[in-house]
Symmetry: C2
Subunit: 109 residues, 2 copies
Protein backbone atom coordinates (compact mmCIF):
# COMPACT_ATOMS: atom_id res chain seq x y z
CA UNK A 1 0.00 0.00 0.00
CA UNK A 2 2.87 2.35 0.81
CA UNK A 3 4.27 1.67 -2.63
CA UNK A 4 0.98 2.71 -4.15
CA UNK A 5 0.71 5.80 -1.95
CA UNK A 6 4.11 7.09 -2.99
CA UNK A 7 3.45 6.15 -6.57
CA UNK A 8 0.18 8.08 -6.37
CA UNK A 9 1.88 11.21 -5.05
CA UNK A 10 4.30 11.20 -7.98
CA UNK A 11 1.90 12.88 -10.34
CA UNK A 12 1.64 16.65 -9.66
CA UNK A 13 -1.98 16.70 -10.76
CA UNK A 14 -2.87 14.11 -8.12
CA UNK A 15 -1.20 16.22 -5.45
CA UNK A 16 -3.27 19.20 -6.63
CA UNK A 17 -6.39 17.05 -6.32
CA UNK A 18 -5.46 16.12 -2.75
CA UNK A 19 -5.01 19.79 -1.88
CA UNK A 20 -8.42 20.54 -3.40
CA UNK A 21 -10.24 18.00 -1.23
CA UNK A 22 -8.19 18.86 1.86
CA UNK A 23 -10.94 20.91 3.47
CA UNK A 24 -13.89 18.77 2.45
CA UNK A 25 -15.44 16.35 0.02
CA UNK A 26 -15.85 17.22 -3.65
CA UNK A 27 -17.49 15.40 -6.54
CA UNK A 28 -15.49 14.09 -9.46
CA UNK A 29 -16.86 16.78 -11.77
CA UNK A 30 -16.25 19.57 -9.23
CA UNK A 31 -12.63 18.46 -9.06
CA UNK A 32 -12.39 18.19 -12.84
CA UNK A 33 -13.66 21.75 -13.26
CA UNK A 34 -10.46 23.02 -11.63
CA UNK A 35 -8.27 21.54 -14.33
CA UNK A 36 -7.94 21.78 -18.07
CA UNK A 37 -7.93 18.04 -18.64
CA UNK A 38 -10.95 15.88 -19.40
CA UNK A 39 -13.19 14.25 -16.78
CA UNK A 40 -11.95 10.72 -17.55
CA UNK A 41 -8.40 11.83 -16.79
CA UNK A 42 -9.50 13.07 -13.36
CA UNK A 43 -11.52 9.92 -12.81
CA UNK A 44 -8.43 7.85 -13.46
CA UNK A 45 -6.40 9.94 -11.04
CA UNK A 46 -9.08 9.53 -8.37
CA UNK A 47 -9.01 5.79 -8.87
CA UNK A 48 -5.25 5.74 -8.33
CA UNK A 49 -5.61 7.87 -5.20
CA UNK A 50 -8.35 5.63 -3.87
CA UNK A 51 -6.37 2.44 -4.48
CA UNK A 52 -3.45 4.08 -2.72
CA UNK A 53 -5.63 4.65 0.33
CA UNK A 54 -5.23 8.42 0.16
CA UNK A 55 -8.85 9.29 -0.57
CA UNK A 56 -12.22 7.76 0.20
CA UNK A 57 -15.35 7.94 -1.91
CA UNK A 58 -18.91 8.30 -0.69
CA UNK A 59 -21.67 7.59 -3.18
CA UNK A 60 -24.86 9.65 -3.16
CA UNK A 61 -27.14 9.04 -6.10
CA UNK A 62 -25.27 9.57 -9.33
CA UNK A 63 -22.67 11.66 -7.53
CA UNK A 64 -19.51 10.47 -5.87
CA UNK A 65 -17.90 12.57 -3.20
CA UNK A 66 -14.17 12.24 -2.75
CA UNK A 67 -12.38 13.18 0.48
CA UNK A 68 -9.03 12.75 2.22
CA UNK A 69 -8.35 9.46 4.01
CA UNK A 70 -6.21 10.55 6.91
CA UNK A 71 -4.90 7.09 7.86
CA UNK A 72 -3.29 6.85 4.43
CA UNK A 73 -1.20 9.88 5.22
CA UNK A 74 -0.21 8.78 8.71
CA UNK A 75 1.00 5.48 7.25
CA UNK A 76 3.00 7.45 4.73
CA UNK A 77 4.54 9.59 7.46
CA UNK A 78 5.65 6.53 9.38
CA UNK A 79 7.19 5.07 6.27
CA UNK A 80 9.16 8.21 5.56
CA UNK A 81 10.32 8.30 9.16
CA UNK A 82 11.75 4.83 8.62
CA UNK A 83 14.45 6.35 6.44
CA UNK A 84 15.99 8.54 9.06
CA UNK A 85 14.73 8.20 12.63
CA UNK A 86 17.21 5.34 13.03
CA UNK A 87 20.05 7.72 12.21
CA UNK A 88 18.68 10.06 14.84
CA UNK A 89 18.75 7.16 17.28
CA UNK A 90 22.39 6.52 16.44
CA UNK A 91 23.27 10.17 17.02
CA UNK A 92 21.49 10.00 20.33
CA UNK A 93 23.39 6.88 21.33
CA UNK A 94 26.68 8.42 20.23
CA UNK A 95 25.90 11.46 22.37
CA UNK A 96 25.11 9.25 25.35
CA UNK A 97 28.32 7.31 24.84
CA UNK A 98 30.21 10.61 24.73
CA UNK A 99 28.46 11.71 27.91
CA UNK A 100 29.32 8.42 29.62
CA UNK A 101 32.95 8.79 28.58
CA UNK A 102 33.13 12.30 29.99
CA UNK A 103 31.62 11.01 33.23
CA UNK A 104 34.20 8.19 33.54
CA UNK A 105 36.93 10.69 32.83
CA UNK A 106 35.75 12.91 35.66
CA UNK A 107 35.66 9.98 38.06
CA UNK A 108 39.28 9.18 37.24
CA UNK A 109 40.42 12.64 38.17
Amino acid sequence: MIDKAIQALTEPRRRDILHLVRYGELTSSAIASHFDVTAPAISQHLKVLEEAGLVVVRRAGTKRFYGIRREGFTELMHYIESFWDDSLMRLKEAAEEEERRKHDHNQQQ
Copy 2:
Protein backbone atom coordinates in the same frame (compact mmCIF):
# COMPACT_ATOMS: atom_id res chain seq x y z
CA MET B 1 12.63 20.41 -4.43
CA ILE B 2 9.64 18.64 -2.88
CA ASP B 3 8.55 17.64 -6.35
CA LYS B 4 11.93 16.09 -6.95
CA ALA B 5 11.93 14.35 -3.56
CA ILE B 6 8.59 12.68 -4.18
CA GLN B 7 9.57 11.88 -7.73
CA ALA B 8 12.77 10.32 -6.40
CA LEU B 9 10.89 8.11 -3.94
CA THR B 10 8.67 6.78 -6.72
CA GLU B 11 11.19 4.24 -7.90
CA PRO B 12 11.29 1.18 -5.58
CA ARG B 13 14.99 0.68 -6.24
CA ARG B 14 15.74 4.19 -4.98
CA ARG B 15 13.82 3.49 -1.80
CA ASP B 16 15.87 0.33 -1.34
CA ILE B 17 19.03 2.40 -1.79
CA LEU B 18 17.86 4.82 0.89
CA HIS B 19 17.23 1.95 3.28
CA LEU B 20 20.72 0.62 2.55
CA VAL B 21 22.47 3.87 3.47
CA ARG B 22 20.18 4.43 6.44
CA TYR B 23 22.75 3.28 8.99
CA GLY B 24 25.81 4.86 7.39
CA GLU B 25 27.57 5.95 4.26
CA LEU B 26 28.23 3.49 1.44
CA THR B 27 30.13 3.82 -1.82
CA SER B 28 28.41 3.66 -5.16
CA SER B 29 29.85 0.22 -5.89
CA ALA B 30 28.97 -1.13 -2.44
CA ILE B 31 25.39 -0.09 -3.08
CA ALA B 32 25.43 -1.55 -6.58
CA SER B 33 26.60 -4.92 -5.22
CA HIS B 34 23.25 -5.31 -3.48
CA PHE B 35 21.32 -5.21 -6.73
CA ASP B 36 21.25 -7.12 -9.97
CA VAL B 37 21.40 -4.01 -12.14
CA THR B 38 24.56 -2.45 -13.53
CA ALA B 39 26.65 0.20 -11.75
CA PRO B 40 25.63 2.98 -14.15
CA ALA B 41 22.00 2.34 -13.30
CA ILE B 42 22.76 2.78 -9.60
CA SER B 43 24.83 5.85 -10.35
CA GLN B 44 21.89 7.41 -12.13
CA HIS B 45 19.60 6.62 -9.20
CA LEU B 46 22.07 8.19 -6.79
CA LYS B 47 22.16 11.31 -8.92
CA VAL B 48 18.37 11.57 -8.77
CA LEU B 49 18.43 11.09 -4.98
CA GLU B 50 21.13 13.71 -4.61
CA GLU B 51 19.30 16.27 -6.76
CA ALA B 52 16.20 15.58 -4.67
CA GLY B 53 18.15 16.49 -1.52
CA LEU B 54 17.65 13.03 0.00
CA VAL B 55 21.30 11.95 0.01
CA VAL B 56 24.65 13.69 0.26
CA VAL B 57 27.90 12.58 -1.29
CA ARG B 58 31.37 12.82 0.24
CA ARG B 59 34.32 12.32 -2.06
CA ALA B 60 37.42 10.49 -0.83
CA GLY B 61 39.94 9.64 -3.52
CA THR B 62 38.30 7.66 -6.27
CA LYS B 63 35.49 6.66 -3.96
CA ARG B 64 32.26 8.49 -3.33
CA PHE B 65 30.39 7.84 -0.12
CA TYR B 66 26.64 8.33 -0.18
CA GLY B 67 24.63 8.98 2.96
CA ILE B 68 21.18 10.11 4.05
CA ARG B 69 20.44 13.85 4.10
CA ARG B 70 18.06 14.15 7.00
CA GLU B 71 16.81 17.66 6.17
CA GLY B 72 15.45 16.34 2.89
CA PHE B 73 13.21 13.97 4.80
CA THR B 74 11.99 16.53 7.30
CA GLU B 75 10.99 18.80 4.40
CA LEU B 76 9.12 15.88 2.92
CA MET B 77 7.33 15.19 6.21
CA HIS B 78 6.17 18.77 6.40
CA TYR B 79 4.88 18.64 2.86
CA ILE B 80 2.91 15.47 3.53
CA GLU B 81 1.50 17.01 6.68
CA SER B 82 0.15 19.81 4.50
CA PHE B 83 -2.47 17.40 3.18
CA TRP B 84 -4.05 16.65 6.48
CA ASP B 85 -2.63 18.47 9.52
CA ASP B 86 -5.36 21.08 9.05
CA SER B 87 -7.94 18.41 9.79
CA LEU B 88 -5.84 17.27 12.75
CA MET B 89 -5.67 20.86 13.95
CA ARG B 90 -9.44 21.02 13.84
CA LEU B 91 -9.67 17.80 15.86
CA LYS B 92 -7.16 19.19 18.34
CA GLU B 93 -9.17 22.40 18.73
CA ALA B 94 -12.34 20.39 19.19
CA ALA B 95 -10.60 18.35 21.90
CA GLU B 96 -9.39 21.50 23.63
CA GLU B 97 -12.85 22.97 23.49
CA GLU B 98 -14.17 19.75 25.02
CA GLU B 99 -11.51 19.97 27.74
CA ARG B 100 -12.39 23.59 28.45
CA ARG B 101 -16.04 22.69 28.73
CA LYS B 102 -15.25 19.93 31.26
CA HIS B 103 -13.10 22.33 33.25
CA ASP B 104 -15.87 24.94 33.40
CA HIS B 105 -18.26 22.22 34.46
CA ASN B 106 -15.98 21.21 37.33
CA GLN B 107 -15.67 24.80 38.51
CA GLN B 108 -19.39 25.05 38.63
CA GLN B 109 -19.65 22.11 40.98
